[in-house]
Symmetry: C2
Subunit: 202 residues, 2 copies
């Protein structure tokens, strides 16, 4: 047996250390919740608890950085363009969107931190869902109505239902941690196809 390879690599460049702390904090708070304590986090990072306060004046500031790290770039700007590209079938577009989207959100850290902050009443979640409604489901509803024989039959609430059924896979996987399909693609495809068929969208 040899000596421990890196007993304590102290004195990282501040940028790097900060990044390390934030990424560790994301993983940590995703596990234990936003009320996880700074001592346990420091232990997991292999640094002292006081070091955290050299980089963040208060725990709430660290949580802000965690939010920013997790929420940033979670919604691609390309999706509205993708969803309104009438050179492709609605089915193609929706499946492509949910393929991308599920890869982004069906992740342990995102799912859990989103849920933790939602339960804490964070405004961030409402803003996110509002954004999702305006930027994704608004245009998508218009596209579907344009493609459906009876446009008035589709409502925004139907889209939320489609969405909820899909998101629920991630909730089962990462929140309740019950057995569910490793690859959600099949379930998503079937749900989308049922949805489009119901409105006679081809």
């Amino acid at each position: 047996m040899d000596t421990q390879p890196a007993p304590d690599r102290r004195r990282l460049p501040p940028d790097e250390r900060r990044r390390q702390i934030v990424e560790g904090a994301v993983a940590f708070f995703a596990d234990v919740g936003l009320e996880g304590n700074t001592r346990d986090l420091a232990k997991r990072l292999g640094v002292t608890q006081s070091l955290l306060f050299n980089y963040f004046a208060a725990k709430s500031d660290l949580l802000e950085a965690v939010y920013e790290h997790v929420y940033l770039n979670r919604l691609s700007d390309d999706w509205p363009t993708l969803l309104t590209d009438r050179n492709r079938s609605i089915r193609d577009r929706v499946l492509h969107f949910y393929d991308d989207y599920s890869k982004l959100i069906f992740q342990y850290e995102w799912m859990r931190i989103f849920m933790f902050s939602g339960l804490a009443g964070a405004e961030l979640n409402r803003r996110y869902l509002d954004h999702l409604g305006r930027v994704i489901f608004g245009p998508l509803l218009a596209e579907m109505q344009a493609a459906a024989p009876d446009p008035q039959s589709i409502e925004i609430e139907d889209l939320w239902n489609l969405h909820g059924g899909i998101v629920y896979i991630g909730i089962r996987q990462h929140i309740y941690q019950v057995p569910c399909p490793d690859d959600p693609t099949k379930a998503i495809t079937r749900a989308v196809d049922r949805f489009l068929a119901a409105f006679d969208i081809t």
Copy 2:
């Protein structure tokens, strides 16, 4: 202005006090999460913090009572019977079930405590979902397969998708607290009808 009407109604019968504490604790922990502290709970109840420990040896015991109060009778024994009653149409049975079920679970306290305990990794949630799968979705799948022209086309995962889309209404309402339909009946009915139509179940 008069004196306070009931400054402190002390000395309730133990059973009644215990019930009052548990019910208050359900509401309290649903609001602030399972890590809410006993002093705030006592303040909300209008009793001293130490009184709580006369009824529960530890906070964890109080939480057990909260779980029991919230989870108990959340799954009616009648539903399996209802769902397998072939004198009624599948549509009737499913709508009836989700009418009952949504009334039971689309409640602030249930939704939030279920989510809080799920995030905390509680075995209770897995047991509940497992029970749901065996007692509700198992029989329901069999009924649908018996009623569908192509029985093999329906999978249990499709039922979870239907379920998730419906449950997501409650999640939006009570977890994220975003605008959503006051009465979910319409959205549920539409989702169920789309589902049954997709499998040609009449």
